[in-house]
């Protein structure tokens, strides 16, 4: 999943650096609060751990082997913010000192593996973790599996956007050549099996720590936060279900009431099109018009759009909450 240099256009690589930057900033602030003076040795050792864990080959179903990223185990044991830092540091060292993963793509790789994977693990684990040892191991394994697949989905999405974003006039893709319809199934398909490596390391790792060093795990269920998750868990599960069910909306005939376009006005027999509407209609056209993403099938595009939409809303609300908290503190 380590994207090398040359696969992403400078524009997308830059965007992903920009997306990762606020997480790095927040992670360093929060980790400093959590660890104070111990920050340097703890982070160094944990980053080294994330680096080494990626070198262990794990037997996978089907006779092959793969390796885990270690981000999920780190997310559960360390809590998400320090895990973001530790995994990022391991990825940076891989790119800078060992030529594994690109320099221009550090932002992208950290975004996928250190941010998306870490937070997905954390959310899934806190949502389904039970009190019993078995429940915890199961939750950790499921969280690891889902999170590594989500990270692969993000990587597939980033790679698949390249032909759309950077092709020359003759239609030659200048960076990663595969459209979304190829890149996403290829990345996700590969990780449906490779994800088991993450599941083994996370599940069995938590099992081992639970038996041999439970004190390490005692902090992990504490205030790790977001209230919007802990209290509203059920609502989020329902939202996830709804996202998956969005293609059902395509089965319903017609346009949602009140969302007619100007042509539909004419077809409805109105006879004229309101002048203001004509004037403003073309002012803003969304990035993914009609929720279709070029290169993806209609249904997949719909689900991805829904997922992206919810993600954008969440990010927006988190930023607003943070700003609100800050101004409350200042006053």
């Amino acid at each position: 999943m380590h994207i090398p240099d040359g696969y992403l256009s400078p524009a997308s690589a830059g965007t992903l650096y920009a997306l990762a930057a606020p997480f790095w900033y927040l992670a360093s602030r929060k980790t400093q609060q959590l660890l104070s003076g111990k920050l340097i040795p703890s982070m160094a050792l944990l980053s080294a751990f994330c680096f080494v864990i990626q070198m262990l080959n794990i037997p996978l179903p089907g006779g092959t082997t793969g390796h885990a990223i270690g981000a999920s185990l780190a997310a559960i044991v360390l809590s998400p913010w320090p895990a973001v830092l530790a995994v990022s540091m391991a990825l940076v060292i891989q790119a800078l000192f060992f030529g594994d993963g690109g320099i221009t793509t550090i932002g992208a790789n950290c975004f996928n593996m250190a941010i998306i994977q870490v937070f997905t693990t954390f959310f899934v684990y806190t949502a389904i973790s039970a009190r019993s040892l078995r429940g915890k191991v199961f939750a950790a394994a499921v969280a690891g599996y889902l999170a590594s697949n989500t990270a692969a989905l993000a990587a597939g999405f980033e790679l698949g956007l390249q032909p759309l974003m950077a092709s020359d006039t003759s239609g030659t893709p200048l960076y990663s050549p595969y459209p979304l319809s190829v890149a996403i199934p290829a990345m996700v398909g590969g990780h449906l099996i490779a994800g088991f490596a993450e599941a083994v390391v996370t599940g069995a790792g938590i099992g081992f720590l639970q038996r041999s060093a439970p004190e390490l795990l005692s902090g992990s269920s504490s205030p790790l936060l977001p209230v919007f998750w802990a209290r509203l868990r059920l609502i989020w599960i329902v939202v996830a279900g709804l996202i998956i069910l969005t293609p059902l909306g395509l089965l319903a005939p017609g346009t949602a009431w009140g969302e007619w376009s100007s042509e539909q006005f004419r077809d409805l027999g109105l006879g004229f099109v309101p002048r203001g509407m004509q004037k403003w209609e073309s002012l803003w056209s969304a990035a993914f018009t009609d929720y279709s993403i070029p290169g993806l099938g209609e249904r997949t595009g719909y689900v991805v759009s829904a997922f992206l939409g919810v993600l954008l809303i969440l990010i927006g609300f988190s930023v607003l909450t943070l700003l609100g908290k800050r101004s409350a503190k200042q006053s």
Binding site: P4, D5, G6, Y7, P10, G37, K38, I40, P41, S42, A44, L45, L46, S47, A48, F49, F51, V52, M55, L56, N57, I58, P59, G63, T65, A68, G70, L73, A74, M89, A90, V92, I93, L96, F97, F98, G99, I103, T104, D168, S170, G171, T172, P173, L174, Y175, P177, Y178, V182, V200, V201, G203, A204, G205, I206, G207, F208, L209, A213, L216
Partner: protein
């Protein structure tokens, strides 16, 4: 070969390969040559510029010229040996070529030829898209490997510091790098112990549990080791502010190199700016 043997031996040989590569890099950094004698800041900044220029360029000729430039630099630095070429030309590009092959047929465009037996059409667009990918990857890896092979890591870290990377981050990188080897040694011993005590094949469940134990105990060890290191640091006068020495001097030759790198990068992206 059964699966248990594969995962144990693959991991052990990965450890050995990693250490070997490192010994080789140390040895290569000690040779005399153009890049070894260059000021590390000029090298790092220059190469990062070139790698970005390679990413920006939309011309295959430019990218190939940059690749040739890297080979000339490798030859002048006495590292253009088999292992450099193996890394630059066999591993990454071969892997990327495998990834790029389907693009030959999948990219829509003008037909350029037909694959004999399977009767698949290769398109012109697919052909140039695949070569863009492979060449770009080869060029970036080539320059990155030149940095890694011709600079000792403490020097490289110092160069990062003097190029403006935050103090804390440099210190963290240095410590992480150091402890990777400590943890690697621990894991190596754990794997060897397992290998020497194992007789016959083993159930997937067992290896899974053992691997979980390895991951868990490595994490536990890192955690307890970090507390010990912290205490050791505090008892030696550490106040939370890392100190790094950096005493580089740019010579005239280094400025000339820097000029060459800047000129090369500008020349590489010139066609795009000009447009």
């Amino acid at each position: 070969m059964n699966q248990t043997r594969i995962y144990l031996e693959q991991t052990l040989s990965r450890f050995t390969g990693f250490l070997q590569e490192n010994v080789f890099a140390e040895e290569a950094a000690g040779r005399s040559g153009w890049l070894q004698e260059m000021d590390p800041r000029a090298k790092l900044a220059g190469f990062l510029l070139i790698i970005s220029a390679c990413s920006f360029s939309h011309s295959i000729i430019t990218i190939v010229s940059l690749l040739i430039f890297s080979f000339i630099l490798a030859a002048g630095s006495n590292v253009a040996s088999l292992s450099f070429l193996k890394r630059v030309w066999i591993f990454m590009p071969l892997y990327t070529s495998l990834i790029a092959i389907p693009a030959l047929f999948l990219t829509p465009g003008e037909p350029a030829g037909v694959l004999p037996v399977l009767n698949w059409t290769i398109t012109e667009q697919g052909l140039s898209s695949a070569s863009f990918l492979v060449m770009r990857v080869a060029t970036s890896v080539s320059f990155m490997m030149l940095i890694v092979l011709t600079t000792r890591w403490p020097v490289l870290l110092k160069a990062f510091r003097s190029l403006g990377m935050p103090h804390l981050l440099v210190f963290l990188l240095a410590m992480t790098y150091r402890y990777i080897y400590v943890l690697l040694q621990t894991s190596n011993s754990l794997y060897l112990a397992r290998k020497s005590r194992r007789v016959g094949p083993e159930a997937w469940r067992n290896s899974r549990e053992w691997l979980g134990a390895i991951s868990g105990s490595l994490l536990g060890k890192s955690y307890s080791l970090s507390s010990e290191i912290y205490l050791a640091m505090v008892s030696r006068g550490f106040r939370g502010e890392p100190q790094l020495l950096s005493e580089f001097r740019m010579k005239r030759r280094d400025w000339l190199w820097m000029l060459l790198f800047v000129f090369t990068s500008l020349a590489a992206i010139f066609p795009r700016i000009h447009k």
